[in-house]
C-alpha cells in the first residue's frame, strides 16, 4: 500500500482474551490519511471500542503494530503520539472543579507545557455550541451529560490533535446535543484543509453516513469493508 500521506497506520492488529488464545480482535489493518473521515459500525461486542483503544495505544497489543507517520512509536514517544491521535471516551471523564479547571488540566502535562490555556479560543468554540463565557465558571457536577461531553471535546480540540478517535461520543445524548457535537467536530476537521482525520465509532447507521465519507463494518473482532 502507498504510505504517502498516511497519518495513522494499523497493521495486522490482534488482541486476545488475556491468558487464552481466544481472539477479541484479529488481523485488523487500517490506514488513515489526512482529510479522512472514517466511521466504524457494528454490533455491540464486535470489537469497535477495543480497536479504537488499540489505535490510541491505551492497551497492550498482542499482534501487529501501529505506525504514526510511517514510524513505529517508541515507549518514550507514546504521550506525544496520544496528544496527536487523541481518543475520546464515550462517557466523558471530568475532574472535580469548574469547566475552566477541566480545560486547563492538559496544560499541567509536560507534553503541553509549552502552550498556554487560550481563553479566547476556547470561548469561541463554546460560542459555536451556544454556551456563553459564564459556562467556564460552571461546576462539573452541574453539567448535563451532553454539556460534560462538550467540555471533554473542547478540552481535546484546544490541543490541536491531528487525528480524533471518537468512541460513540454521542451515544447517550439527545438529537440536538448530538448535532452540536457533530458540528464542533466537523469544524475542527475542516479547519486545516485536509490535514486532519477522524475515526468515529458509532452504532447509528444514519450518523455514520452523516459524519464520514467511508464506513467500515466490524464483526466478531474483524474489519469488513462496508458501504
Amino acid at each position: 500500500m502507498d504510505s504517502a500521506g498516511v497519518l495513522l497506520d494499523a497493521q495486522g492488529l490482534g488482541r486476545f482474551v488475556p491468558g487464552t488464545q481466544q481472539w477479541l480482535l484479529r488481523d485488523v489493518s487500517l490506514a488513515v490519511r489526512g482529510g479522512d473521515r472514517l466511521a466504524i459500525v457494528g454490533p455491540t461486542g464486535s470489537g469497535k471500542t477495543l480497536l479504537l483503544r488499540s489505535l490510541a495505544l491505551l492497551d497492550p497489543i498482542d499482534e501487529g503494530r501501529v505506525l504514526w507517520l510511517s514510524q513505529t512509536i517508541s515507549a518514550r514517544l507514546v504521550p506525544a503520539f496520544r496528544s496527536q491521535a487523541t481518543y475520546l471516551h464515550q462517557r466523558p471523564a471530568l475532574i472535580e472543579g469548574t469547566v475552566e479547571d477541566n480545560l486547563r488540566l492538559p496544560f499541567t502535562f509536560r507534553i503541553h507545557a509549552h502552550q498556554d490555556f487560550d481563553r479566547r479560543r476556547v470561548a469561541s468554540m463554546l460560542e459555536m455550541v451556544g454556551r456563553g463565557a459564564d459556562f467556564l465558571a460552571r461546576s462539573w457536577h452541574d453539567l448535563s451529560g451532553g454539556e460534560a461531553q462538550i467540555v471533554a471535546l473542547v478540552r481535546a480540540l484546544q490541543l490541536n490533535p491531528t487525528v480524533l478517535l471518537l468512541d460513540e461520543p454521542t451515544a447517550s445524548l439527545d438529537a440536538s446535543t448530538t448535532q452540536t457535537i457533530e458540528r464542533l467536530i466537523s469544524h475542527w476537521h475542516e479547519r486545516t484543509n485536509g490535514k486532519r482525520a477522524l475515526i468515529w465509532v458509532t452504532h447509528d447507521r444514519q450518523q455514520s453516513t452523516r459524519v464520514a465519507q467511508r464506513v467500515v463494518q466490524m464483526n466478531a473482532g474483524k474489519l469488513l469493508e462496508g458501504t
Binding site: 495505544l57 507514546v78 504521550p79 506525544a80 496520544r82 481518543y87 471516551h89 475532574i95 502535562f109
Partner: protein, 270 residues
Amino acid sequence: MTVDGYIELKAWQVAIAASLVLLNAAISLGLQLGLGRSLVVASMRMVVQLLLIGYVLRWVFQSDSVLTVLALAVIMTIIAGVAAVRRTERRYPGVYWASSVSVLVSSWLVTSFGIAAVLQKADTWYEPQYAIPILGMILGNTLNGISLGLNRLEDELVVHRNLVEMSLTLGATSWEAARGPVRQAVRTGMIPMINSMMVTGIVSLPGMMTGQLLSGVSPLQAVKYQIVIMFLIASGTALGTVGVVLLSFRRLFNRNHQFQSGLLTAAGHK
C-alpha cells in the same frame, strides 16, 4: 514479688486477669450477642500466641547469636509483608513481593539507624534486647501504613480509572496520570502516624513507655525512648508507604504509559 523495680508475675496472677474475660462472657450472654465462641477462641489464641513468642524470644535472647536474631528478624519481616497485603481488598501479580520489599527496606533501614546512630550500638547491633523489640514496633506500624497506602492506591485507580485514562489520552505520562491516586495513597498511609503523634501522651500512654514505667525506668527516660521510637516509626511508615506505592505504580503501568487495570482483581478471586 519485686525484682529490680518491677513485680514478677506468677501464673496464678495471670489467671486472675484471665478471669475478667468472664465479664465479657456475661455481657455476651446477657445481651445474646452470640460472641461466646469468638471470645473464647480470641482469648485462647492471644494466650497461645504470646506464650509462643515468649518462649521464642527467651530462646533468642539466651542464644545471643547473630544468625538467630537475623532469622527471627527475617521471619517477622516476611509475616509483616504478607499481612500488609492480606488486609487489602485487591490483588495484582507481584503484590506480595512489592509489600515485602517495602517492609524489608523501610523497617531494616530505620531499625539500623536507630540502633547504630541513636543508641550508638553499631558494634553490638545484633543484641536481641534492642534489635528485636525496635524492629517489631517499626514493623507493626510500617505494616499498617503499607496496607492503608496500598489499599488506597488500588481503590483510587479502580474508582477513578476513567480519569487516569482520560489524562493518558490527552498526552499525560503514566506518572502524570497517576499522581493524584499516588498522592492520596501516600497521604492515607502516613496520616494515622501523624494523628498518633498529635495525641500521644494526651489521649493514651504509648505501650512501650508504659512497659518501661512498669519495669521501673524513670519517667523521663521512658519518654525519651518513646520519642525516639515514634520518630523511627514515623520515618519507617513513610518510607514503607512510599515504597509500596511506587512499586505498585511501576507494576500497574507499563513502559508504554498504559494502565494495566486488568491486573487488579478482587481479593479471593483469580
